[in-house]
């Protein structure tokens, strides 16, 4: 790494600058390790036999196995149904949130109406409320409605969590769409809904997709509400994970396997989308 500094021709690094760059690299390494090591630990542990999990001898050298991956899908863990619940809740929330957020963001971005700023700030500020404060009222409300332990309840709750972020993100992208292309479309004869659908949405699509992924991730990982509002039918993956803390102790190897199942889809999704939508699509529309 120091090569980058010393390789400049004729440049003689002083002892001080060398020490400084070494300190910098150490700090960077520490920072990276604090993020990567737990993930690494999870990926390794998921493929260990239970007997190897606590043993220092087999910290890195062990006989790998897929048993954990199979076990988590069997009784009593049944991660399969939890995966389905998680997918249903996250997809449902995103499918509702994105069209709603797009419409709201468009209104906030382009229309003038009374109390616009106040309403917008209220929507954003609703996110500053800790979930723990509202979880009990929600519990009672859903109990009244008979929606406890259902996917619909989780979709609704996650919608309320995700919408403000999505509105805020998409609004930023719609703000950046030049107003002239909308006016062009209006003059060309497009009704407002076609302007939105055929001009604004395609131009703001990077933002909309970003918001969708963000919303999906947020819902996918949501823990508190799922914990309180579900019991057995609508359990999601994160709740499934704490099931591995049993009377017989923590089953780390199973928890790690479940952890991979939670992380992998998000990882693949973000990789796929990231590659496709780099840069803004609006380049070249005006001037």
């Amino acid at each position: 790494m120091t090569g980058a500094v010393t390789s400049i021709p004729g440049y003689q690094p002083t002892l001080k600058s060398r020490l400084w760059s070494m300190t910098q690299q150490t700090l960077i390494l520490l920072l990276i390790s604090s993020i990567v090591l737990p993930i690494l630990w999870m990926c390794i542990t998921a493929f260990k036999w239970p007997r190897d999990v606590y043993s220092l001898n087999s910290a890195f050298w062990f006989e790998p196995t897929l048993t954990n991956m199979v076990t988590v899908f069997q009784h009593p863990w049944n991660l399969g149904s939890k995966i389905i619940n998680s997918i249903a809740v996250a997809s449902g929330a995103v499918a509702l949130a994105i069209p709603m957020a797009t419409l709201a963001a468009y209104a906030f971005s382009r229309y003038e109406f009374r109390f616009k700023k106040t309403i917008f700030l209220t929507v954003i500020a609703s996110q500053f409320l800790p979930g723990a404060v509202v979880v009990l009222p929600y519990f009672l409300m859903f109990k009244e409605l008979g929606l406890l332990d259902t996917r619909s309840a989780l979709i609704l709750i996650n919608l309320s969590i995700v919408l403000p972020y999505a509105i805020w993100m998409i609004k930023g992208f719609i703000d950046a769409v030049p107003i002239e292309i909308e006016e062009s479309a209006l003059v060309d004869g497009a009704p407002r809904w076609r302007v939105l659908l055929e001009i604004v949405v395609p131009a703001a699509i990077p933002g909309i997709i970003t918001a969708a992924i963000f919303s999906f991730t947020l819902t996918w990982n949501e823990f508190l509400f799922a914990l309180i509002l579900t019991k057995q039918d609508a359990l999601t993956l994160p709740i499934g994970l704490i099931g591995f803390r049993t009377d017989r102790g923590d089953l780390w190897e199973l928890m790690a396997a479940g952890g991979i199942l939670i992380t992998a889809p998000m990882f693949i999704l973000s990789l796929m989308v990231h590659r496709q939508f780099i840069g803004s699509l609006t380049a070249g529309s005006v001037r």
Binding site: I181, E183, S184, V187, D188, A190, P191, V286, R287
Partner: protein, 352 residues
């Protein structure tokens, strides 16, 4: 095809009134240019005709039919925006064809008309490019093609050339003029460039501060400005305008010299004359003796300027004329070609 009537139009944004009691008739097949400095209300007026803004007061009518309440979709106008407003996610072909798609034109006709419009602006080889892959001039031509792909009631053009470089601008200007003659559609064109106004217009409406100062053919506007603002805005270089006072006899004093030019009456005046109506002459025949401030070669002619009473006075001279800063400058102003404006109101004084 369409006659447009603007009847006592007012437009205010909160406290600020940008268009004041504007009355205007735009004739069928006319090429009308709104000319004025930025912020004079010319773009707002055009946007009201397009339906993108709504007048605070007054009536807009197409062929005598009030259209105030119609949105831009229902007015059947086509507009070229200053920064073109191309759809970034559509190809050139889709951009040009979008107005047709909205009107559900059948595929065969759609393709034929898009190609014809693209050919008119020489963009038919680039139909599958995206706007981001085009140069500024090409984008401008796509915007133009999109507006001519259908035959609207009115063409609206909002400074369509201002983002092009000087050379391209001349070419595009010729193209627009040719197109408008060929298509025979009422056209309204907004610009702050008086050369564009002079070359393109059948009539020019000179605006300032939300008011039409004068409306007429380019010739009328150039030869017969009704006030000192119009006079100062039209012509390149601008008309020489000087605030002068006269002797008791009515002879004009300029830079403490008696010019031997008779004002219409004794008192204060704004005196105007164009650079081409001033000649260099012998010292004894001169209306004004001064010295050269700058001297510019323009190729087909030369321009000498002098600093007179704190303002620049421009004189057009022969192409082989050569002078240097500080040289003596003797000029003769032809009284026949002097415009007199009221010193207070700026209104032109006309002989009765």
């Amino acid at each position: 095809m369409t006659k447009i009537t603007l009847h006592s139009i007012d437009k205010s944004y909160g406290e600020v009134q940008v268009v004041k009691n504007l009355n205007l008739e735009i004739f069928d097949n006319e090429f009308l240019v709104f000319l004025g400095p930025s912020g004079c209300g010319k773009t707002t007026t055009m946007r009201m005709i397009a339906g993108l803004e709504h007048p605070t007061q007054g009536t807009i009518a197409f062929d005598g039919k009030r259209i105030n309440e119609l949105g831009p979709q229902e007015r059947d106008v086509a507009m070229v925006f200053q920064n073109y407003g191309l759809y970034p996610h559509m190809t050139v072909e889709q951009n040009i064809g979008y107005p047709l798609k909205l009107r559900k034109v059948p595929t065969a006709e759609y393709e034929e008309r898009v190609l014809r419009a693209a050919k008119r602006v020489q963009m038919h080889d680039l139909l599958h490019r995206f706007p981001r892959e085009l140069s500024g001039g090409q984008r401008q031509r796509v915007a133009l093609a999109r507006s001519i792909v259908r035959k609207p009631q009115v063409f609206l053009m909002d400074e369509p050339l201002s983002n092009l470089d000087a050379k391209l601008r001349v070419i595009a200007r010729a193209q627009i003029k040719h197109l408008s003659e060929e298509l025979q559609v009422t056209t309204i064109y907004v610009t702050h460039d008086q050369v564009e106004a002079m070359t393109l217009a059948t009539r020019v409406a000179v605006m300032s501060e939300g008011v039409i100062r004068q409306i007429g053919t380019p010739e009328e506007i150039y030869n017969n400005p009704l006030d000192s603002f119009v006079a100062s805005f039209i012509g390149s270089p601008a008309m020489n305008l000087f605030d002068v006072s006269t002797e008791a006899s009515g002879l004009v004093i300029l830079q403490n010299q008696n010019t031997n030019i008779m004002a219409p009456a004794q008192g204060d005046w704004t005196m105007g004359f164009r650079c081409e109506d001033v000649q260099l002459c012998d010292p004894n025949a001169a209306s004004l003796k001064t010295e050269v401030f700058t001297f510019e070669l323009l190729g087909d002619c030369t321009m000498a300027t002098a600093m007179v009473d704190g303002k620049l006075l421009t004189v057009k001279a022969a192409k082989d004329c050569r002078m240097q800063s500080g040289d003596a400058l003797h000029i003769k102003i032809d009284p026949q070609h002097v415009y007199w404006f009221d010193y207070q109101t700026g209104k032109r004084w006309l002989q009765i």
